[in-house]
Symmetry: C2
Subunit: 257 residues, 2 copies
DNA sequence: GTTCATTGCGTCGAACTGACACAATGATAC
DNA sequence: GTATCATTGTGTCAGTTCGACGCAATGAAC
């Protein structure tokens, strides 16, 4: 069973397999070399790169479908994954434009084909540890790789808008959720954590105030080790105190009212 | 065209009219007599009360469908309305249980009828001014009325869960959005605004600190008038400074980082 | 006019925030 | 081996905010 064949199969049998009208797209964030990255796929159906997405099997929970898509693209289970918005504009998909692209691959689909119908898509965003991800092709894609957030100009259909919306959500969540755990390796230094925050917020923070604030949350454990090998003074390594981390995940970092 | 007839028509023609698989439900919050209220409908299809909901026309934007449902139930346009979560469990709907209820109303539907299929529903929550709402029946309901939040025990399908989720979202939004504008009349007193916050958060706040904080946001205008007629000192009336209010809606009340 | 719950305004110490100083560290250059 | 120097750990300090509470003014009820 070649990939091409399963792709054809999916296209042929999709209507029977999937919940109609509904799709999902994942904005998968990673952090590498002090830059925020997004995992994109090059869809066969288009010239453009796209967010990894998929459809929901008829007996499958929506959230499980998102977990499945993530697992298929990254090889990862047990990941921070959250829906953030539904994109339901009537005109958001224009698959008909892409019929010709299918043709180029020798795949003919009729004008009433299920793939050409209107889809309402649920946006999920995921935070993953860059080094653990093995970007994996699926049968409907030519490529699957990390993109630097700053290099992304135009994407398939409304996927750029979905991406921007996910970034907004991430920036908002940064205020009341302990984000670092999902994007950094288990052990990390304070400057690394700060770079992550600076990158997401796109603004520089005071080193000393940042440290005071983060330690103040009480969700970090300072280890005895330091990160040697840098050109200067070796910073301490930290890891998350999982008990307090989970508590903060539920309650939020700020009490609010 | 009697209501009963359009109900039958909708049931008969729905498959051709609506986007399959997708529905939406609205959690409509109001504030009255110092209590948080939710607008519910008594569905013909069930013994239970339900959230006002609907389906998406084939050429209609998802958000427009929510606006339409809200307009139909409340008579209101131009309302604070926001999607907050998608409920996509495969087992969330068990319409088959309710086939018998249709039968009681003399409506027979087959086992493959579109209404019995699986739906993924998008949850919207709305904040409305209680006094402006005219609860309006639709053709699929026996009743439509306000319920006190505390009196709601069990609802249709998973609607109680949807309601609880909306309330969580509202409580979270309270931290960074100027909420009062949508739930209170144009002119209101500080104690009234405080009661609203206390009701939503289910906890009492210090009168003086509340006032300092709210005025500190700079989105309120104190009017020259006072609310006479109360048994004691007449409190000043306030209204929202719309320019600063809209700015706060976009930027959030707290800077965060 | 007295009563009294409620409202407007203010105070005070504790906690937090932003800006910055200074010493310690550790690889690199010489 | 030692000087260099960017980077890190820790601390200070003034300005601001926050939670708790005091007190006088108000206005309907008696």
């Amino acid at each position: 069973m070649t990939p091409q064949k399963t792709f054809r199969e999916t296209i042929a049998e999709g209507e029977a397999l999937f919940q109609p009208s509904v799709s999902l797209d994942c904005v998968i964030f990673g952090f590498h070399e002090n830059e925020l990255k997004v995992l994109l796929v090059k869809a066969k159906a288009s010239e453009h790169w796209a967010l990894p997405g998929g459809f929901v099997f008829k007996e499958e929970d929506l959230d499980d479908a998102a977990i499945r898509v993530l697992k298929e693209r990254t090889g990862l289970n047990d990941i921070f994954l959250q829906q953030f918005h539904v994109f339901g504009s009537a005109k958001r998909s224009d698959w008909n434009v892409h019929r010709t692209n299918f043709k180029k691959d020798g795949i003919e689909i009729g004008p009433d084909h299920w793939l050409l119908k209107r889809f309402i898509t649920v946006g999920y965003y995921a935070l993953v540890e860059f080094a653990h991800v093995k970007p994996t092709l699926d049968t409907s894609s030519d490529a699957c790789t990390w993109w630097d957030l700053n290099d992304i100009q135009e994407l398939f259909m409304d996927h750029k808008q979905i991406l921007d919306s996910a970034l907004d959500t991430l920036r908002l969540q940064l205020n009341h959720l302990p984000i670092g755990y999902n994007l950094l390796p288990q052990k990390f230094t304070m400057p690394e954590l700060q770079k992550l925050y600076e990158t997401i917020l796109n603004k520089s923070l005071d080193r000393r105030n940042f440290q005071r604030r983060m330690t103040g949350f009480g969700i970090l454990k300072r280890l005895k080790e330091t990160r040697k090998g840098g050109a200067h003074r070796a910073p301490f390594l930290y890891s998350f105190d999982m008990r307090k981390y989970r508590k903060a995940l539920k309650q939020g970092l700020y009490g609010g009212w």
